[in-house]
Subunit: 566 residues, 2 copies
């Protein structure tokens, strides 16, 4: 490819508002171009990477026995109604009417389509297990796109669906996919990927893992144990309960006046946040009656994903104005609110002398006891794990990390096969619903994540395995006859030898050319100039290490063969 004809602009600065390195460099180096909020065109170099990533994924999926299909982007409402997701999934599922007034959706995941593909042909247990997958454009009506290709509305995704006779067979296969995912991300050049236990979300099912690239710009919070390597998304992470002191006090109502927040109450009563039971109130989305009140220790925060899972519905912080609750004085004794669903976090267990609101303006109780005064039926885990809490597996101190979710895998159970009536007959004549797994990788997000992990202050540093081109052929002083002749000769020869070459055929300054080669992140740079010609050699620079080699034109291909391995 000649750089003079390459579509895409190289920019000195990123547009305003660009925060992450991958976003900035992918725009600045001419890899992507925004068409609309969260919608991008992949320019030629990015599409080259996209295809290489797809090929790695395809090879590994095929090695797992996967059968590639192509499901529709646009699907009829009826298909999504079979699983119940037409109504259960929120606004991120784009719904519209076609010209015949039929309700349609834009696919963001394809469990229904996968089951539909198997319906009819799948009849007997001996056809199991099998896995079908696709690599395809998906659309998610994302409310807050961000960070370039990291969170977008439209993206290329690999999604796979496996079908099994029973849970044990699913678990065996799940482990194989789990291992394959690490091979995939490793081949793509991402080193800092970890698997973390995660929430099953809209997919349903019980077990799920996410593959997270650890990076400070990640939008997910991950709780990691550096000792035993247990890792979980904060939405499902647990920690060992912190011991409370179990010392009883005397329950007494005290006047606290304007003290409402945890800090104000602590200061007013000379207590620590860990000696307070605070309340957080929620409404259930789409239900004007249900009220949820979460009580937890004053130094803890509610993990809404955990609470939502217990409530079984979407929740939102409730406006207290019309609920009869006294803001800042809500407490877990003498709370008179009919029908409220009350959850007590496990952090409260063992607190026998704590502060809580007295449910009247200006007053709190001190010396409250959980076992004597509150007597909850049970404690649940609805708080966020924080750095320094203890690993539930080994007891060591947990760390909080940030990550980008580049893949996820789910054990789905029979949710879709049952609702859509997919059955197989067993040897004993009975019929069962196959057990399913599903397995996603965001291809565009992988691209951005690789960029995020592989860059420096000068620009991108693509891993050899997925670089758009391996070689940046960079002649300096192309107005010099000898340089031009050698450049054209080398471009022709290297291309004929199947090297992937980006030829900077611009008559431009050395500074511009060298800067662009670094910004674009091509792994190997070949510089020729009047000086190298005079010296009878060619300069090779490795982008990732800065290493330089000087070789004769004769030995060039041999040296490149040594360097370009992956």
């Amino acid at each position: 490819m000649k750089l003079s004809k390459l579509v895409g602009e190289r920019l000195k600065d990123a547009p305003a508002g660009v925060m992450s390195k991958s976003h900035s460099y992918l725009i600045r180096a001419g890899y992507i171009k925004q068409v609309s909020n969260g919608i991008y065109t992949l320019l030629p170099p990015a599409q080259k990477i996209n295809l290489k990533l797809q090929e790695i994924i395809r090879e590994e999926m095929d090695a797992l026995g996967g059968q590639e299909c192509l499901f529709p982007v646009v699907m009829p409402k009826e298909l999504w109604e079979l699983s119940g997701r037409y109504t259960s999934v929120g606004e991120e599922l784009l719904r519209f009417k076609d010209r015949s007034d039929h309700d349609m959706v834009l696919g963001m995941t394809h469990e229904e389509a996968a089951v539909h593909a198997a319906l009819g042909s799948l009849k007997s247990y001996d056809q199991l297990p099998f896995m079908i997958y696709q690599i395809q454009t998906k659309y998610r009506d994302e409310a807050r796109p961000r960070a370039g290709l990291i969170r977008v509305k439209e993206f290329t995704m690999k999604d796979a669906y496996s079908f099994h006779e029973n849970q044990a067979d699913l678990e065996k296969y799940y482990k194989q996919v789990y291992d394959a995912y690490f091979r995939i991300f490793n081949r793509m050049g991402m080193k800092k990927v970890i698997a973390v236990h995660s929430d099953t979300g809209m997919m349903g099912g019980k077990v799920a893992d996410e593959f997270q690239l650890l990076t400070d710009v990640g939008e997910d919070t991950i709780i990691v144990c550096p000792h035993c390597d247990t890792a979980s998304n904060v939405d499902v992470a647990t920690s060992l309960p912190e011991e409370n002191d179990h010392i009883f006090g005397v329950k007494t109502e005290v006047f606290t006046g304007e003290a409402k927040t945890i800090d104000e109450v602590c200061s007013n009563l000379n207590k620590q946040p860990s000696q307070i039971a605070k309340a957080v109130c929620y409404a259930v989305v789409g239900d004007s009656v249900r009220v949820v009140i979460a009580f937890l220790r004053g130094d803890k925060e509610v993990n809404e994903a955990k609470l939502k899972a217990l409530v079984g519905a979407d929740i939102a912080i409730k406006d207290l104005a019309d609920s009869g609750l006294v803001k800042g004085n809500i407490g877990c004794v003498d709370l008179n609110i009919e029908g409220a669903e009350i959850y007590y976090d496990k952090s409260l267990e063992g607190l026998e002398s704590f502060v809580t609101g007295a449910n009247k303006e200006g007053y709190h109780y001190i010396g409250v006891s959980m076992t004597r005064d509150v007597k909850p039926e049970k404690y649940v885990d609805i708080s966020k794990v924080k750095e320094g809490e203890k690993c539930p597996v080994c007891g060591h101190e947990l760390l909080v990390k940030r990550g980008i979710e580049i893949g996820n895998i789910f054990q789905l159970g029979t949710r879709y096969t049952k609702s859509m009536g997919l059955t197989v007959s067993m040897p004993d004549g009975t019929t069962i619903n196959p057990v399913m797994g599903c397995y996603g990788i965001g291809v565009g997000r992988s691209l951005a994540s690789i960029a995020e992990e592989n860059c420096d202050e000068k620009g991108l540093v693509w891993p050899m395995s997925i670089a758009p081109w391996h070689i940046y052929l960079c002649p300096i002083r192309l107005d010099d006859e000898k340089v031009r002749a050698q450049a054209e000769r080398l471009y022709k020869r290297l291309t004929a030898e199947n090297f992937e070459v980006l030829y900077d055929d611009r008559v431009a300054s050395a500074g511009i050319k060298l800067t662009d080669s670094e910004l674009m992140g091509i792994p190997v740079r070949i510089v020729i100039s009047p000086k190298t010609i005079e010296n009878g050699n060619i300069e090779i620079t490795i982008r990732s290490t800065g290493e330089k080699f000087f070789v004769t034109e004769e030995n060039l291909s041999k040296k490149l063969d040594e360097i370009i391995v992956y």
Copy 2:
């Protein structure tokens, strides 16, 4: 691949209403599955073909210097407003609102996106020419999907866009793409593809060619000259004017009573249809005022595409009830209808004694003269060319054929670069809008067209170059220990030797297995059975010719290497 695990059903009969062979066989052999009207899942064998077709296209596009991009499926209204197509394209462009109430469209073509990709980076004439392309899912809100993958709502398409300094350079490149298209279709195994002149439609521009696979189930009508090979879509086809006799008559009003249709009037007045000038009336879609009346010889039919191009807007047959016209008695003399736009077909030229309506109930004129009584300003070509008319190039008799349009190419001019403000600066300091070409190939439709051309009464006959697998390994009597051992050994060995093998590992009758191998159309079948083992050989059958070879297990790979070439 083991057939027992392959997703997709092989059926004895096609579903009701399936008319074309490709549609029937693709469903019956388990290649595609309908999800909704005009929306299909490509099952694994079809997706294998899809990828091979894409690879052929990609190689040929890259050989033309094409740069592969990926444009968005979902685009904002604003982008399509820049070209004016947000309003000018009809209902087949699916428009919807996203969750933020933004107007969006589902891409059916990407001229706007291609120009957008070049905006900013394209500055100077020396960056020209270049071509960008993508292979991607498109959506067209098709009113009448039909024939399986031949006319669908969602499809994979290759669309390419080239940019040039001037028309001459575009024409040179256009010819290169034209030639490449024949290479592509030839490599895909389609032999009966011809290029035909076509209408530019919603793309705009002046010159366009379609690539049509000639087949009786095609939905397009093509006019072909078997002598000079001129071929045109009927929408733009012309023929030499037929000579009328130029003999004058006496204009006379005659009572024709209930005679309204051409047949009735002919019979009533003892005339031929070619002695009548008939009227066809149209309304302009979206315009309650404009009325269009087309006059043409009674033996001709209106070609609405030609008329539409002259009118410059969509037209629809007009209900005459409220227009003041007398149905069945409309004529081209004494026609009093204010503001009607009247077009005279060239077939009327030279008619000097013909019949036409008298514009009053029950009466016609005879002996009417075009030059004396009608005096049209000009004649236009608004009639359909019919079989037997004369080729405008060489004068030989034209044939009418049916075809499936699998590709099309357009010379677009500056319509998009001008409206979207894409300019380059020229050596003399002026700026120009680059001239564009665009080039499409329907990948899914190609798949169906290949199937349509390559099948027999037993099923599909895939060309070697794009077959989902090359070899159908067909052991008969898999319950026989020796057969099973050899089958497993061959499957392992051939797969290891990189042959693409579909292994029929089912314990099923010879009849079922042989029938399925033929239905699925895999080019080479290997049969092993107790008998072949006894004879010490292996039976190879070529699907397309029925040729049989018998080889030893030792010589199998060598023979397969000879057979599997493309």
